[in-house]
Symmetry: C2
Subunit: 190 residues, 2 copies
């Protein structure tokens, strides 16, 4: 936690407590982004920092090893939740949070969803083709058809779902989502 100068310690306590509450709430819910509570806590710490932070400072504030800070912050950078910053005169690497949470949200889920989509859609299509071929080879075999048809139906419906997910991801990635659901609520009176 960043120590604060030039104000009374009573006031500082209030501020630190207010920050701590938010930091811990954030840390607690970061499993949504597939990251550990510690790293979520680190993210929360960086969130309230008003200057880019070094690994040493993080380790000090988190009371954890520099190694953990290094790997933790790298995870956050990979997720584009934190950016590496250069500052002349400092030999150390500096990091600060990406403050655009809309972007963070859209980036993360686009990435994750698309990865799953690609793997699953590829498997679904490959299997669909094989089953379709088998289906065509043996039009007369009723027993076989009875087995194949449910599988093909399920696969087709799954593909339909992934086609939709693909378009949804596009809407997130392109920022079109903010036209469909505006960042700021329209005024209540129509």
């Amino acid at each position: 936690m960043e120590s604060i100068h030039g104000i009374s310690s009573e006031q500082e306590i209030i501020i630190q407590k207010a920050r701590k509450r938010v930091i811990e709430a954030i840390g607690k819910n970061m499993d949504l982004y597939g990251i550990t509570q510690s790293i979520g806590h680190l993210y929360g710490l960086l969130f309230f920092q008003n200057h880019p932070m070094t690994l040493d400072k993080m380790g000090e504030a988190m009371e954890m090893s520099k190694t953990s800070m290094s790997t933790g912050v790298r995870t956050l950078v990979d997720l584009k939740m934190v950016n590496k910053v250069w500052e002349k005169g400092s030999r150390k690497d500096l990091y600060e949070v990406e403050m655009d949470w809309f972007q963070t949200f859209a980036d993360y889920f686009s990435l994750k969803w698309r990865k799953a989509l690609e793997i699953n859609l590829s498997a679904l299509r490959k299997s669909k083709n094989e089953l379709h071929a088998l289906c065509g080879q043996s039009q007369g075999d009723a027993a076989l058809q009875a087995v194949l048809q449910p599988d093909l139906d399920k696969i087709d419906e799954a593909i339909r779902y992934y086609m939709w997910l693909d378009r949804l991801i596009d809407v997130f990635e392109s920022g079109e989502i903010y036209n469909l659901v505006p960042k700021d609520a329209p005024p209540p009176g129509q």
Copy 2:
């Protein structure tokens, strides 16, 4: 894996292989839904089952203990990915997958997002109030104001984001999302 009767073993191998590919793809990507690879695999198994399945059958097919099946299937039921089914004449509990993947997707993310939203928004508002009070008490103290203002700005922007997320969740929960992004792609020619 369900064994299949009434067809040649050559054909059965093709079908089992096609299913297996999809099941493993699903299992691999289930971390998206915060569940373990084993449970993801279980979900994939159930996906191709044409009849509701008992815990014993699952354990047999997965080569795992019935205890694991019990806890695994409960996780899936909690996530509304699998439904418990009653069938007269059977004393055993029966389970089958929820086949509406659109619904599964919307349910899961609505649930997760809303949980995070509630916790974080509550913390943000509480801290905002405290800082705001402190801010009002000491209008003249420039050093304090200089510390408070960035925190308040960050909190306000975070709240703005969560207000948007709240509306996004509503759009998912209400099904309005399927008007904004239709389940089936509109024909290419406009």
